[in-house]
């Protein structure tokens, strides 16, 4: 099969699964069969994706296929199709791989759900996989946007999967609105781009840029708008607020959507349109700086979280900042690499955390502790993930983080570089903190934990998870190690930039310092956590309060937007409609008033006739 057919196949299988599950209510309500269908579809997609990648890496030119979607007088306005090049095919593998693993994992993770909800879950998943692949394979920005939005909807639906929980419903809404706010920018950018370039096709655009036929006037606005979209999806400061809340969704969802795939779509978009951004260095600079700020602030906030998923969520935000900084520095390749590795190890971390939560029935780290003995497998893979994230050599995160840091420095973004470096330390610190608190340290609040122990009988599996959950964990862990080992020791890709020699040692030192710091604080308790807290009190308060961004947004939503809406609603009812009612009332009153001249006295009638006569004569006096 040629790569296009394969790609389409990969794309359509989950879509078909979604339609089948969605439309055939009995199938959906049966639960497990639906899940198997979905998994089969996505697994086949994975195979197709791998084959596509193989075929694509052999071809020099990107492979593109397109069909008309929207008509226009002078040729089609928009097309749909696939664009297969190394980037998209790699990304495709990541998406399908993580999706497959997560779906398998979910079989066990959600086995308590009623069958109907189970079916619904897999329907959403299939839709998500389809949409995400649509984003990845999209040959033009419009299709990308279409799938982009669908991805957002899936995220909304899956965050709100447990919609009975008010928090989940609220978080879903918040995620949708925040990303939508960014998407408004993306939409505007796409619309603007059409007038400027007359096409949305990525290859054509690239061609135009290379040929110098694309006007640069106004391009800055367009790239900025595109970046806004990426900002929302990839949770860049200040639109990152939705991602931590999104952890209300089931943990596998967080692993797939809010760690590995969807949130990286923003980075992917920027990678795809890198050539456009290069035309507008100011915007690129902005991307870099905001990336750095995001990375640092999110890392700080991650440090003060007590919820294991929240830590991972902020960590994701922070890592997305890393990727963005690299893109902003002008080296999208580095960002993309980090995207891939991060996808693997962050999914691993989330799934690991999920296994823990599944066992403990709590997200709070103080409910955990000393779990290494009970769940050695989970602890192992989680530690692999942590080391990856901390950028320890021979793990997946190491090489990509080096690349990002190097790229940032090479791009001349010194400020963001410092932030990233600080962030690297903090990353290692908070991740290690999680590891120590969850797996090694004694339970922080024994009483509290005891409260749970008697539940053990009910939940049964307070040990390592069954195969369906462990399998995916191990696959990801192995992938993280393989990638790490391969890229650290065997494969030194020629970087597009030259990084100074001191960079690697410094970065690794930062990571190790973080691990050590965490060890001292949370395992041996040599350093008192309270002391740390009081030393960094102002930052801590700010971090705990999420830098008051949520409050700000809430204020804007409640006291500005809704209040304004109420004002408009009131105006419509009592002024606009009011005027109409007044006119109507006046008409009625006018009838009443006029009726009074009908006095019933014939003298008045005669008077009216005479007066009318006079009026007629006066009117006509000019001609008389």
């Amino acid at each position: 099969m040629n790569p296009v057919t394969l790609a389409i196949l990969a794309l359509l299988l989950p879509a078909g699964a979604f339609l089948l599950i969605g439309v055939l209510a009995p199938l959906r309500r049966s639960g497990r069969p639906a899940a198997f269908l979905s998994i089969a579809a996505v697994a086949t997609s994975l195979a197709a994706a791998i084959r596509t990648w193989q075929l694509a890496s052999g071809s020099v030119e990107p492979i593109r296929a397109a069909w008309n979607w929207l008509p226009g007088a002078n040729g089609p306005l928009a097309t749909v199709g696939v664009l297969i090049d190394p980037q998209s095919s790699l990304m495709l593998i990541l998406v399908t791989l993580v999706a497959t693993l997560v779906q398998i994992y979910s079989l066990e993770y959600l086995h308590d759900e009623p069958p109907a909800a189970f079916g619904r879950y897999y329907a959403y998943h299939s839709l998500f996989v389809f949409s995400m692949m649509g984003v990845v394979l999209s040959p033009n920005l419009l299709q990308l946007f279409v799938c982009w939005e669908l991805v957002g909807v899936c995220s909304y639906l899956l965050i709100g999967f447990w919609y009975r929980k008010p928090e989940a419903a609220r978080a879903a809404l918040k995620a949708f609105w925040t990303t939508k706010a960014g998407d408004v920018g993306l939409l505007i950018g796409i619309v603007l781009l059409y007038r400027l370039a007359g096409t949305w096709d990525i290859l054509e655009l690239e061609h135009m840029v290379k040929g110098g036929t694309l006007a640069t006037a106004g391009l800055g606005v367009i790239t900025f708008c595109l970046y806004l979209g990426a900002m929302g999806k990839s949770a860049q400061f200040p639109l990152h607020v939705w991602l931590p809340d999104a952890m209300e969704g089931p943990t596998p969802v967080s692993a797939l959507i809010h760690a590995a795939t969807m949130v990286t779509a923003g980075v992917y978009l920027l990678v795809r349109t890198e050539f456009l951004f290069h035309q507008t260095p100011q915007v690129l600079l902005l991307v870099g700086w905001i990336g750095g700020i995001t990375a640092l602030l999110a890392a700080i906030m991650a440090c003060v979280q007590t919820d294991i998923k929240k830590v991972l969520a902020y960590s994701t935000v922070s890592q997305l900042g890393y990727m963005m900084t690299a893109v902003g520095a002008g080296f999208a390749g580095a960002g993309f690499l980090h995207l891939l590795t991060h996808g693997v190890f962050k999914a691993l971390l989330f799934l690991g955390a999920g296994a823990v939560i599944h066992a403990v029935h709590s997200n709070e780290m103080h409910d955990m502790g000393g779990l290494f003995k009970r769940m050695p497998q989970v602890a192992t893979v989680f530690i692999i993930g942590t080391l990856s994230l901390a950028g320890v050599p021979a793990f997946a995160g190491f090489i990509s983080k080096e690349e990002v840091l190097g790229a940032t420095l090479a791009g001349g973004l010194t400020g963001p570089f410092v932030m990233l470096l600080t962030g690297a330390f903090l990353t290692a610190f908070y991740m290690s903190k999680v590891v120590f608190l969850v797996f090694f340290a004694a339970p922080a609040a024994p009483g509290h934990a005891h409260g749970h122990t008697h539940d053990d009988g009910h939940h049964g599996h307070h040990g390592d998870p069954p195969f369906l959950m462990a399998g995916p964990l191990w696959i990801l862990a192995i992938a993280a190690i393989v990638i790490g080992v391969y890229s650290t020791f065997f494969h030194h890709a020629e970087p597009e930039f030259a990084s100074p020699g001191w960079l690697t040692p410094v970065a690794v030192a930062m990571g190790l310092a973080g691990i050590v710091g965490a060890y001292l604080t949370y395992q041996t308790r040599t350093i008192s956590a309270d002391t740390l807290a009081s030393v960094f009190a102002p930052i801590r308060v700010a971090a705990v309060n999420k830098f008051w961004l949520d409050d700000l947004y809430l204020f804007i939503y409640r006291h500005i937007l809704l209040a304004f809406a109420r004002l408009i609603g009131w105006t419509d009812r009592y002024i606009v409609d009011g005027v109409l009612n007044v006119i109507s009332a006046w008409t009625l009153d006018g009838g009443d008033a006029l009726r009074r001249i009908q006095t019933g006295r014939v003298g008045d009638y005669i008077f009216a006739v005479a007066a009318g006569l006079l009026v007629l004569m006066l009117w006509m006096r000019g001609t008389l």
């Binding site: 005669i606 009117w619 006509m620």
Partner: protein
Amino acid sequence: MNGFVLAPTAPLGLEIGLGLLMLVVLSMGLFRPSTPNRLTGWVALIGLLVLTGVAFAVTPGGSLFAGSFQVDALAVFAKRLFLVSAAISVLATLGMSSDRFAKRGSEYHFAVLASLLGMLVLSSARELILLFVSFELMSIPLYFLTGFLKKDETAGEGALKFFLVGSVSSAILLYGISFIFGATGTTNIAAIAIAMASGSVFVKLGLVLTFAGIGFKIAAVPFHMWVPDTYEAASTPFVAWLSVAPKAAGFIVIFRLYLEGAGSTAMVWVPLVSAMAAVTIIAGNLMAIPQKNVKRMLAYSGVAHIGYLLMGFAAVSASGTGMILFYLVAYLFGNMGAFLCVQAVGSAEHSDDFDAYKGLAQRSPVLALSLLVFLLSLGGIPFVAGFWAKLFIFRAIIDQHMYGLALIGAMATIVALYYYLVLSARMYIEKPDNPQPVPIAAPLLVAILLCAVGVVVMGAYPEPWVRAVMDAANGLF
């Protein structure tokens, strides 16, 4: 030989026939039977039907008395209209429950026929004296007919008001005619147009005064004030006729005096008439809104309709004139029909108030539907006659580029629809207090259905009617 003797009077055939009918009706009153019956009514009806048949056979042409009586197309058209409306009214009267119509039927029908005679002659009159006398012949029996139910506490009042305002108006009218005569020295109507063209101030003054007089007859604001009181007081089938036929006669007079042969000199009336039309439409509609009595409501809405007819006059064109005639025919069916429905409900409920119409659709669907159709026609809704009527009027004045007036007319239609809809809501939406069907006398029902058929047929297929009115109107220009 006989044929030769009668031949010269042929153009007067209808009038002579009507005169004979009057004679019969009157003499039936002299030999009053011991048990009152409605025989005179039936005789009058049959006579009218025969005359109507004859009228539809008459072809235009022929004149008498040196052209002062002329049977032109307009006259024939008008005569048919008058006869049909009178026949419907008489038919509906046969369903009246009051025994006064049986006891004094001879006087009543004689008066109707006398007034009708006035209208018939009026439509042919081309000479001022004849015009005036026939105008008065039309009017005076109307006063009588208004007060016919003299035992009713309000009938006399309605008649008196009608009479007093009417006689003042007719004095003004006559004063105007005197100036017209004075300006020309002749009573021939054809001379008026010539005098107008020469710019005679007397003829203009005369026409202004005359307009006030006619304004009373057609009930244009501010000469309309007798209308609601009179309509409320008088017997409903008569009001149905009163609301249509004399108005039509007034417009015939307007055509004769102001438009016939006048050409472009008639344009001098346009601002005055359009202003009057606007005021009439607005005031009529506004005053109809707060009415609680359906007859009064219809009276005011009738005033508003006069405004639309005046709009047609303001167009000063053959099409405008023709469309007035069309409007009159549509109005004949619509308004008479509506009044007859009021009669049907009123005789059952002994009330003409809106409340009497509650749930009529569930009590008597046919009656309610007929009334709805009439109201829609009056409101100018498509597929019933009134729509075409309004449309044609608007078209005529838009032809003259009077967009503002058209818009006022169109917007006022909305106000009119308001109160028509309020009445419809009573019929269709509310629950009846008394679920019994409304008893309707057979003749009345026939009359209502006739009107309904007229309204619907005109609405569905206006083409022949349009052709007829245009034939009648073209002679004037």
